[in-house]
Amino acid sequence: MQIDAIFSLTKYLPHIDTGWLVAALLFIYIFIKDLPEFAKLKASVLLPLSQWLKFKGLQKSAIKNDIEGTVNVAVKILENEMPEGTIKGIEIEYINDTKKEAFIREGRVFVRIKPAEKEEENFVVVTKLYLDCVLLPNSKKLLTEEQSKAVTYFTAYRIMGKRARYLNKLHDDYYKPDTDSKPKIKEYFEAIECVDKRGLFYSTMLRSIEECAGNVRFTSGSLNTEFDNILQHLQRFVEELKKKTKDGNDNLWNYKSSGVSFALLLVADPLKARIGSYKAYLNRLKKNFSRVSYVFVVFSKKEWLPFGKEVADALDSYIGATFIGEVESSHDYRGKNGGIVRLYERKIDPSNQQATE
């Protein structure tokens, strides 16, 4: 039946005006040309072709599309997990002439790009340079080298995903020598990986650190300690979750320091929730969530909306917390793919730890 329908359509094809066909194709091209997925697709064709034909223009285009496509596809996902403005995409601009005075005046940087046969090297060098420029906009200068490198390496690994050749290059040429000489980077990296597998790194940890870094009371030393403390706290929280202890360690449901305080509320399956069932969650709120300025409500599934509104109203009326944003996470708190973290804020001064209950 379907085949008949297709054949009946084909008889009209010769009558379609070529101009309209070109216009339609042009319209589709304009629509998709800036999509990172399209750049990635183009690179998958252009890279092998450019290595064979060795035309300069083809090689430059292949390398640009490969890096921009891969990085920007990953950034589209990371953008949903990170606080707004914490990461942006990459755009490679080739220069082939310049003026010395203008270059110096504008404080510019250029990186050398090698022919496509060395694309692993190009990709790793450019991605590292890009991450050094964009990651941790507030906290980069206050964290230790080991802390910021661990975040950069972890994000680079997330960006490279399953591209084995690039991952191997990053690991063998950069990560391994770096962690051999500074084992603390590996410790941080593994802790970040553990926390991220439950969706709490970018949504909770990174947001809290960037929040602290924006606070004038924070110096480099105090932010380094805060980074260590929050990471250790979340790692212990995740370890408790893995053990599936019914209530876990009560002290781990919230984190308080002089700079930032937050609490975690895990919502297992909102679809099973009925009207009024949010009250079960409020018991935990009352017990553990006083005197915190942020509450991260971590949902296990994306289909939380009806229940989310109920929890939001309850948080507002019971503890005076208002909804300020929502992020997606790569994993939910059970370690399954895809989660949602909603963030609520309470207007309290964390330094004197007085709650407005």
């Binding site: 942006k88 601009e93 080739y94 504008e106 050398r112 964009v134």
Partner: protein
Amino acid sequence: MKSKQKIEAVYESDLEKVLKDLELYDDIVGAKIKCAYCNNPITLDNLLCVFVEKGKLKVSCSRVPCTNSFRNREENAD
């Protein structure tokens, strides 16, 4: 994607022209310029990036520790 970080790049075969524009080419060929991080002589083979620090042009080589050091450079050169 709201904004993008621009990364300027020079393709291998355009390198000579750009280095001449920046008046670095002859010094690099003559091995008179050293890596900003490891102090080893910069050559056309090992050059990785050119940047500005404290109002002066600096060059770094492609050794991994130097690439890693790049993140700690002083930005806003002027």
